[in-house]
Symmetry: C2
Subunit: 502 residues, 2 copies
Amino acid sequence: MSDRIANAALRSKVMTAEEAVQFVNNGDKVGISGFTGAGYPKAMPEAIAERAKAEHAKGNDYAIELFTGASTADNCDGVMAEADAISFRTPYQSDPVMRNKINAGKIRYADIHLSHLGQMVEEGFFGQMNVAIVEATRITEDGNIVPSSSVGNNVEFLRAAERIIIEVNSWQSEDLEGMHDIWTVPALPNRVAIPINNAGDRIGKTYIEIDTDKVVAVIETDAPDRNAPFKPVDEVSQKIAGNFLDFLEGEVAAGRLSYDGYVMQSGVGNVPNAVMAGLLDSKFENIQAYTEVIQDGMVDLIDAGKMTVASATSFSLSPEYAEKMNAEAKKYRESIILRPQSISNHPEVIRRTGLIATNGLIEADIYGNVNSTNVAGTRMMNGIGGSGDFTRNGYISSFITPSIAKDGAISAIVPFASHIDHTEHDVMVVISEYGYADLRGLAPRARVEKMISIAHPDYRPALQEYYDRATSGDKAFLQTPHDLATAFDFHRNLVEKGSMKG
Amino acid sequence: MSDRIANAALRSKVMTAEEAVQFVNNGDKVGISGFTGAGYPKAMPEAIAERAKAEHAKGNDYAIELFTGASTADNCDGVMAEADAISFRTPYQSDPVMRNKINAGKIRYADIHLSHLGQMVEEGFFGQMNVAIVEATRITEDGNIVPSSSVGNNVEFLRAAERIIIEVNSWQSEDLEGMHDIWTVPALPNRVAIPINNAGDRIGKTYIEIDTDKVVAVIETDAPDRNAPFKPVDEVSQKIAGNFLDFLEGEVAAGRLSYDGYVMQSGVGNVPNAVMAGLLDSKFENIQAYTEVIQDGMVDLIDAGKMTVASATSFSLSPEYAEKMNAEAKKYRESIILRPQSISNHPEVIRRTGLIATNGLIEADIYGNVNSTNVAGTRMMNGIGGSGDFTRNGYISSFITPSIAKDGAISAIVPFASHIDHTEHDVMVVISEYGYADLRGLAPRARVEKMISIAHPDYRPALQEYYDRATSGDKAFLQTPHDLATAFDFHRNLVEKGSMKG
């Protein structure tokens, strides 16, 4: 038995996932670890899926309500969705099988800000949480949990659940211990200020304290996280990154940013990685990240001495970088901090750091409203994730996107966003490969020209025609001009004809 | 000369508004005091309007860009808009003349969260601010400003502006001194936690320190704030208030709220005042308000011993209550605190207090997206105000609204909100005279029945038909079902036929 289980009482609870699944009942609310494919339980999801199949074969109902940190993996969300073992899911997902079941109307999905779910569970907005299933690097002598490659909502789930199942994963480097910073806001009405002034401030413990009496099972695993390789940086991503860096340079020129003061938040993906590659060769120094996910590009910036500290709640690394992190965790834990997502995404700290938020989008409209979640207003992609937390509270909010998707069938700039996740009040800068639209301080009509200028040239005439229609003739009200009869023509074309071009 | 100007250097700057208007040039960015009709300058706006008329008569351009705390009054926003003296306006307004000029496309209006404007001015998002015009109760011996009946963005405007004009208004009670709590977050990168844990915590000074060298004029006035009487509570408001109290009682029953722990934020108006009248007879005790505006109902709760403290940035009282406040400010300053709006509306403190946010709306859609600003997507009413600050960061966010407006021509519940200011991720509870829709933790489709149940009975069939259409036939994607061809039919009916009923 692994020496990673240092507590005698918990050592006596070791069993297989097939045995432990007896503690996961039909209808249970189950909170699991896991964030962007890191630190999710590796054994229990398959056991739950198998039990669901067996129960269904016997004609019994069996499905759980699943709460996570964020997205997980095919051997977690995927297998359980495939087995119809999930009736409800929150707050963020990205697995194709899960997504399809959600869009088919078979799984109820509540798309919740990542900073909000922990508080909502704790305060009982969902009723009693039944089970917490949490991956650990190690269980300490006192029965505390050293988290693995993500922290997510572990603290809140472990505290709220009636029963706890711990998966101790020996694939995770023991040197991760010391990288975590576990601190939580006291419950209402006793909340206090979070004593983080800078991204690198450590304020808590390196482990999570739990009520060991609630532990019903400990499972030993040895399995990797889901680590997907990033695609090589393409030309469009490189142009977007260049425009983003131009924007940063403009802020420096205007005296609103210093080469020695950039605090980064960044969504995950190829364009953000292109931005980070661009920063490697820039004049920016002593960059800090206060963000939710550590990506390859941040590791490169740390290695190059350009980034002093990166604070997040999770890793999202390529397989190569995950291996390096595991091998050199002792070194990286000097400059990387993993926090609960209720802290990494907390409005209070985000606002205080003065970070520049940079996230992707599905579409933005000519007035700067942003859709991050529903294609054509109805088809869920992944969810809002932390983009709202950072956009709403950052010093500057920016969005980066290619101007088109699906070989030009979809325009990222549309007349009226078909779902709105970030309102015109919160979106400051939108950047494509054609430039950046700085919307700050502008009235809606003054934003239109800028937004059309970053659209793909193929779509600019139709966008201009829409705006002309919205402002022409007997249109009486011109604060936010719209022609409601044709506001969704782009989307109707997409749904009916396969392309927004019609 | 008034003994309210205790500083000799500033006493020498006393002049008339007609003289002082020489310091307000065409194209100037002008930041003024004023919030919901309280504490705005009483003399300069008319002088600016007169100068605009004179310049225009001579064929000269003359218009300023106007920044405020929030709404002002007819003898401020109104006279300047009437004289075409305003080219740009932010962040909130409610004057009919101003609104009409905005909707006619003659004034550019940027609708900005009240917690954000101060920071954006300070950081130079609008360029250099030229003039600050601020009402004071008194100028101290050291040349500091004791604000009057609102604080608003005074601190940021006074700090950012090149020139300062002070209006000392002897109508304002001298006993207001001591009611204000002036503290500001240090500028980036030196921000720290705001040391307010409870609504009643005082952390700053009772006056605003200024650079007296920037003062170009001091004007003496003796004029009342705009204080509009509230309408008597009608039956619909009373029913809404009853449903809101039922909701609060339900929270207590569920263990999520205590009779001794309700922290209130409330929008302004007749329905909120009905809610406060209801609280007078409720079991709730030791209520605190952490909000932006002190209303009649809060004064009643304080008088009745039901409310221990009310923290805001401004008054919005009826004439009768304004008189009482002026007469008894010495007493009320024990339990009322006026702060800069950057603190009263700050996400950090709002989240920490665990307040329940309660605001009005124009319309909500069947999935819980809320429009607070643009009728039929295009016609600006007043602006988002602080509703986003409180909704996004409160413990619970609620919206209260009559189910219909304009004698039934407008439904508050629609298929697709024609402008979105608060997204489905942020809106928790919507309350009408027909009950409350508690949307917390629900996937979008699970919200529809609840939202339709609080709509006016006349509109329920059309809403149900829309949802049936959105989910029927070959609709492939069912996360947020919509029929984009008919999503805005309610609004098109309103625009084309004068009623959403068509």
